[in-house]
């Protein structure tokens, strides 16, 4: 495994070195250097904001091609509930049937995985020892955001696996048992609305290895899947099993509304989530029991790798959820699942304090002082032309050794002016130590 695997990457050819992405990155993880954007691996949380804002489509998400499912003798599709919102007047069952026609041997709805997670969380919130508010672990970009910017809230993150992992484990267990095949011969593929999920498959948090074998973006599968769906006949087998609640996880607030409690807050859009996490950290929301934060506007339906407008998809999901035929899980099914699969994190989530200036506080203080001194000499326009997102970050970058003062056009102009002045002074000198003004 690479040290910092990221799905979000740069297509260098397309990058023009503009300032759109550096200014929108919530962890200040992008700089423009030598005319091209550069992502700082240890800071990036794969939220995909830069993919959305890049006008040249130079920010891309690495996902697996559809053909990669052929590496496995048996293939399982794990569709994110957000997939259901992509098609007009198409039932969930038709979408699931379409996936089978595409070459998958089995489909297991991640929305069904979400039904299990809801039950697990419902039990966990009854534990009075847990730090409140409990923070959802469903959005991997938010979990990574907390690691980087809110380490004090790590213990609030619920140590329960995401619906995707739960779905993969249950699907594989069930398939292997039913078909009498070995687990290594079965590949489970998540149909993903976002890059962060791809990263959490390759480089998971809380577990050593993901049970998901790959992620295919909704954008990639949309065309082939649409083709299959349009050719479907009426004799579909009923595949749709998830409850209306599980399907609603595609939308912001879906996860929370399924819980046995009322004292929750569901926030979407990464800047909004940051604002609320600041308040939770400052103990301003002391009566809150559960916090659901989703990086994308509207929830997963607003992911960077979806085809349909997130607001349209959100409304479709709401309607599809109302018509859903799936039922809620029985007590036995929940107990059974807990016995069969690993459903909670095996490892603690560790902080990634990349914002700190130095391990030694005395040195950190010295650096802070140097930053303030440099910052005072900068114009405070936050134009981004130096390649850093703001004058403040530019000052930090200089002190951290990532940038030089002359990267700033304003500093450069000052320097040029100074040099020009010196040149004039020099040109006015004539050999012999006399100046041309002599004799006037």
């Amino acid at each position: 495994m690479e040290k910092y695997y990221h799905s979000v990457t740069l297509d260098k050819e397309k990058c023009r070195g503009c300032t759109n992405c550096i200014k929108r990155c919530p962890t200040e993880a992008i700089r423009v250097r030598e005319g091209k954007a550069r992502i700082i691996g240890e800071r990036c949380i794969d939220c995909g904001e830069c993919i959305r804002v890049c006008p040249y489509h130079a920010k891309i998400a690495l996902t697996d091609p559809l053909a990669s499912i052929q590496k496995f003798p048996y293939k399982i599709a794990l569709p994110a509930p957000a997939l259901y919102g992509q098609f007009r007047n198409v039932s969930i069952n038709a979408i699931l049937t379409g996936l089978l026609k595409l070459g998958f041997d089995e489909v297991f709805e991640v929305a069904r995985g979400a039904d299990y997670v809801t039950e697990f969380v419902n039990e966990a919130i009854k534990d009075p020892k847990r730090k409140k508010p409990i923070i959802s672990s469903a959005c991997p970009a938010i979990v990574r955001l907390i690691q980087v910017r809110f380490p004090e809230l790590i213990d609030n993150i619920i140590n329960i696996e995401s619906p995707m992992e739960i779905a993969a484990r249950l699907a594989k267990e069930e398939f292997c048992r039913k078909m009498g095949v070995k687990e290594k011969d079965v590949g489970a593929f998540f149909i993903t609305p976002c890059a962060a999920k791809m990263t959490s498959i390759r480089n998971p948090i809380g577990i050593d290895r993901s049970w998901v074998d790959g992620a295919i973006s909704i954008l990639e599968i949309y065309g082939p899947l649409y083709n299959q769906i349009s050719r479907l006949e009426d004799d579909e087998v009923l595949l749709q099993k998830a409850s209306p609640h599980g399907i609603l996880w595609a939308n912001s607030g879906g996860e929370s509304s399924a819980l046995d409690m009322d004292n929750y807050l569901a926030v979407d859009g990464i800047q909004n989530v940051i604002r609320v996490l600041e308040e939770i950290e400052d103990e301003k929301l002391t009566d809150l029991e559960f916090f659901e934060g989703l990086a994308c506007t509207g929830g997963c339906v607003g992911g960077p790798l979806v085809f349909e407008n997130g607001f349209v998809a959100k409304n479709r999901i709401r309607k599809l959820s109302e018509q859903a035929k799936g039922r809620h899980l029985s007590r036995e099914e929940v107990v059974d699942a807990k016995e069969k699969i690993q459903w909670y994190f095996e490892k603690p989530i560790l902080p990634k304090p990349v914002m700190k200036l130095d391990d030694d506080i005395t040195l950190a203080m010295k650096k802070m002082e140097a930053i303030e001194r440099i910052y005072e000499g900068l114009p405070g326009l936050d134009c981004g032309s130096c390649g850093s997102p703001s004058c403040r970050t530019h000052a930090e970058d200089i002190v951290r050794g990532y940038a030089s003062e002359m990267d700033s056009v304003f500093k450069l102009r000052e320097k040029v002016k100074e040099l020009a002045q010196q040149m004039i002074e020099l040109s006015e000198k004539i050999p012999g130590g006399k100046t041309s003004n002599n004799g006037k």
């Binding site: 004090e152 950290e281 304090p353 914002m355 700190k356 506080i361 005395t362 203080m365």
Partner: protein, 147 residues
């Protein structure tokens, strides 16, 4: 404003009376600085909560003042110094639930009488002096434990 010498760092933030637009800005800055200095996250949280309460106290009750952050490798000090009106009975003000907050502040959800008790709970030690007609100075100390 910032000064630093011999491992002491000091930052001074002006707090305006009755200005709810800027309220919270100083304590927010303090939090950012401490995170960058790599101070333990539990201490950062306690300092921020105390600084926020002290800042809000000045916004609501005082005629204005300043919030001062002082950091040494061993200790963090948050000082709230205002120019009046002063607290007649500090013992009473420290009681949970006691409040003299005006209506405008209560409508915003402040003035529950938890400000000073909250600062006391967060800080490792506290020093407070007040003179009616002159002003109040509150100093909250936080030990940076060996990491």
């Amino acid at each position: 404003m910032m000064t630093s010498r011999n491992h002491i760092m000091e930052q001074v933030y002006t707090v305006e009376a009755g200005n709810f637009v800027l309220a919270g800005e100083a304590s927010g800055q303090i939090k950012k600085v401490l995170k960058q200095l790599g101070v333990d996250s539990n201490i950062v949280r306690r300092v921020t909560v105390a600084a926020y309460e002290a800042e809000m106290n000045m916004v609501i009750h005082s005629v204005g003042g300043e919030l001062i952050l002082k950091v040494t490798p061993e200790r963090i000090t948050v000082t709230a110094r205002d120019r009046g009106p002063g607290i007649p009975d500090i013992g009473l003000a420290m009681q949970e639930g006691y409040s003299t907050a005006p209506e405008i502040a209560r409508e915003l959800g402040f003035g529950a009488g938890m400000g000073l008790p909250n600062i006391k709970r967060c800080a490792d030690s506290l020093n407070m002096q007040s003179k009616v007609g002159e002003g109040t100075i509150l100093e909250a100390y936080f030990d940076i434990k060996a990491r």
